[in-house]
Symmetry: C2
Subunit: 201 residues, 2 copies
């Protein structure tokens, strides 16, 4: 059976960077946005749309009682995207040892007994990392005040928690769902941290 590491992470905690470091040290495959590209290819939907659907829990449409039921006319690609995501994650896990970031992979692959790592940080460190990291979409955060950016980070993390809880029935970031929870604010040397984690796998 392949060795699988899943990385759940708070936005702004550097989980992705840590995951990449761990994969590099262990020589494992690394999957993150690649999953979105593959879903887009298979469903013929745009990557942007897929990302949006794949990372948010659905907004449950309630019928509006005005004589007509409006909600039924909205085409529901969400379920397709989720099904593809599940299939792809399972295929990747069967292919080779790997590190998979986010997407509830810890739950999807629970029968494969992955090492489930959760990466988090404190609010100040997340803010600082977002300001410094120009590679993510929030480099436009430069135009936001600290307070606005901190609120945005919090919102993204609330949305991740909702997504995780909706699809897994488990509490996001709660220790009992993980093998290791790491506060990156306390261990800023990611190479060293990745090395320590890799030594345990």
């Amino acid at each position: 059976m392949n060795k699988i590491i899943t990385i759940g992470r708070e936005f702004g905690s550097g989980g992705r960077e840590l995951a990449r470091n761990i994969a590099e040290i262990l020589g494992y495959a690394y999957y993150d946005r690649e999953i979105i590209s593959e879903i887009a290819k298979r469903t013929s939907l745009s990557e942007r749309y897929v990302q949006n659907v794949a990372e948010h829990r659905p907004i449950i449409p309630f019928p509006i009682h005005t004589g007509r039921t409006f909600w039924a006319v909205i085409p529901d690609y969400g379920q397709n995207v989720q099904q593809e995501q599940h299939s792809i994650i399972r295929e990747l896990a069967e292919k080779s040892d790997c590190v998979i970031v986010g997407r509830g992979a810890d739950y999807i692959l629970r029968n494969e007994k992955p090492y489930r790592i959760f990466v988090y940080s404190d609010a100040d460190s997340k803010l600082k990392r977002c300001r410094e990291n120009s590679s993510n979409d929030y480099s436009k955060g430069e135009e936001m005040t600290d307070k606005e950016l901190a609120r945005r980070i919090e919102q993204i993390n609330e949305s991740r928690a909702e997504y995780y809880e909706f699809y897994t029935g488990q509490k996001w970031g709660c220790r009992s769902n993980y093998d290791l929870c790491v506060n990156t604010a306390s261990f800023p040397d990611f190479k060293k941290l990745a090395q320590a984690i890799a030594s345990l796998i």
Copy 2:
């Protein structure tokens, strides 16, 4: 400033053993029951009594309105014991690099920026460890059924959570209060785990 590691731990998770391993690798002082002995010495109370008071949140006595107020006649050593515990923990932290197990030391020493580790495990592993570990008081667990022992372990952990929350105002075992949370069921080789943690300090 001395380097301080505090270890919060679920009963049955092997936190004490892991703490001892970390202290040994780093050559740090190790404090656990030694704190109880020292409090007993300073307060002239028995170790057994001190342990009971030092590890449980006080039961707040409400006056009973029957004409007389009974609660006032109970001598309150609890506060003394807690004060001594605080003083001793602070003294130990000033003396040398150290590992301190339990007793809300992460909170008491928060200004000293300790490495705050929380050690936990799943229910089955805790049960197994308790059965195997004849050095703790629960070797008498042999007389209990699995269900009874599991319930006892749960009760002890509920009591630890209550104690921690009462004295710190923080949630016990919640990731945001720690730098690292480790599930020992997933990393049964304690020497290796201690080595990995020590490499981060």
